[in-house]
């Protein structure tokens, strides 16, 4: 059975952001994802829920091409996940459990490194730091940051990529109430720009107000 998110927004008319068929990924003998089939229209916000260890992070890491699927066929924004990995990576940004930050560099230097690897100018780094509430701590080393501040900086890293598909894995974790509002605002802005957003979260009530639809995983399978 194909699990399809219904959507009537104009952005949905542009096609599918994700088309996953019988996706499977295992760690050793244990299948973290099994027979996962779903489609997500472009420009929508999808909430992905499920208990700890249900496969949410694995699903996001597969979609971001951080790990390869063992089974199934997946296209992301029309690109094959295996054969056209570089094209997928250019269009996708992942907010992971791992911050992807260099501890010994400052917040600003971390974003400059990303800008230089993306080949974009570094002019946007300052405003972006201010946008995530780190304007005054931009020249401090990441090693001095709290968990919430690291999460904010990781968010800035995602925004710097200007993705067409944003995969936000537990975006509210470790954040204060102001941070929660920041995440909500960013998700709304991304959606307004036509970006497809997948949010893996335990904040079901909050995220359901932003999401066009929801998907639930348990034991690596879709419910």
């Amino acid at each position: 059975m194909i699990w399809e998110v219904p959507c009537y927004a104009p952005a949905c008319m542009t096609g599918l952001a994700i088309n996953a068929e019988k996706l499977g990924r295992r760690y050793g003998r244990r299948w973290a994802l099994a027979d996962v089939t779903f489609r997500v229209p472009a420009g929508t916000v999808l909430m992905v829920s499920g208990p700890n260890g249900s496969g949410k992070s694995t699903l996001f890491r597969v979609l971001a091409t951080a790990i390869r699927p063992d089974l199934g066929k997946v296209t992301v924004l029309g690109f094959d996940l295996i054969r056209e990995r570089e094209d997928v990576r250019k269009a996708v940004a992942l907010l992971s459990h791992h911050s992807y930050l260099y501890e010994t560099l400052t917040a600003r230097e971390n974003l400059v490194v990303v800008s230089q690897h993306l080949g974009v100018g570094t002019d946007g780094v300052g405003p972006l730091l201010a946008r995530v509430g780190l304007g005054e701590r931009g020249d401090d080393a990441v090693s001095t940051f709290s968990a919430g501040m690291r999460k904010r900086l990781s968010f800035a890293r995602v925004l710097l990529q200007t993705p067409r598909l944003a995969l936000l894995d537990e975006p509210y974790a470790q954040l204060d109430p102001e941070g929660f509002d920041l995440v909500d605002d960013v998700i709304r802005e991304l959606k307004a720009d036509g970006t497809t957003v997948l949010v893996a979260t335990h904040q079901l009530e909050r995220t359901s107000r932003l999401a066009d639809n929801a998907l639930r995983l348990e034991g690596g399978r879709l419910l």
Binding site: T65, T104, Q116
Partner: protein
């Protein structure tokens, strides 16, 4: 590649205290080796090139393994790959930075060798050139193997086990060339050893750059 190199040099600058510690380790190794030979100045001078390269080799395992510490701490390397960044550019950025660090370390160990082994030479430019070429032979495969072992337990043991057999030809050429510069070159064979060393460097740098993507990707 420029972006990757800039990032590597910035990371190295932030951990410059580590460089000092590695230098002290290398200098201590040279001192301990000299104890093994005894006070015979002629024998000390004869073995000076070999001990210089052994000191640099042992020190290199520390710097090479350390060069991936920041990359693995928050999976920063994975973050760069997903941007996307070309794995070859990431490799050459890190390998060049490691080469610069090892060349600097080798150059800093030369005065220690001269003092401990009475191994002075007036061909200092040739000696520095050989140190640079030899360091290139260590850093290219060293960066690849450091990436391979960065995520496994016992990496400090595994890295030398994998690296040392592979770099024997480059190490041998480096020792011979250094020895000829210090002790004299009556048979005019220095050029042959330098060409051999440069050839190994070219092979290592080309092959390791190609293999790096396969090593660091899932």
């Amino acid at each position: 590649m420029i972006a990757a190199l800039r990032k590597e040099l910035l990371l190295q600058w932030r951990s410059r205290a580590q460089f000092l510690a590695v230098f002290v380790f290398g200098a201590s190794s040279l001192l301990l080796f000299s104890f093994g030979i005894g006070p015979n100045a002629e024998v000390l001078r004869q073995f000076s090139a070999g001990f210089l390269w052994l000191g640099l080799l042992l020190s290199s395992t520390l710097t090479l393994a350390e060069s991936f510490h920041d990359e693995m701490e928050n999976r920063a390397l994975e973050g760069l790959l997903l941007l996307p960044s070309d794995p070859r550019a990431l490799y050459y950025g890190k390998a060049i930075a490691n080469w610069l660090q090892l060349t600097l370390l080798g150059s800093a160990l030369i005065p220690v060798m001269v003092v401990l082994y009475d191994a002075g030479t007036d061909r200092i430019v040739a000696l520095l050139g050989i140190v640079a070429l030899g360091a290139a032979g260590l850093s290219a495969p060293g960066t690849l193997y450091a990436a391979m072992t960065a995520q496994v337990r016992g990496k400090q043991t595994l890295l030398p086990l994998l690296l040392f057999p592979l770099i024997v030809p480059a190490l041998l050429a480096s020792v011979k060339a250094t020895s000829l510069v210090i002790l004299g070159d009556p048979m005019d064979s220095l050029r042959a050893w330098v060409v051999l060393l440069a050839s190994f460097d070219a092979i290592y740098w080309a092959l390791c750059g190609l293999l790096y993507g396969r090593v660091i990707e899932d």
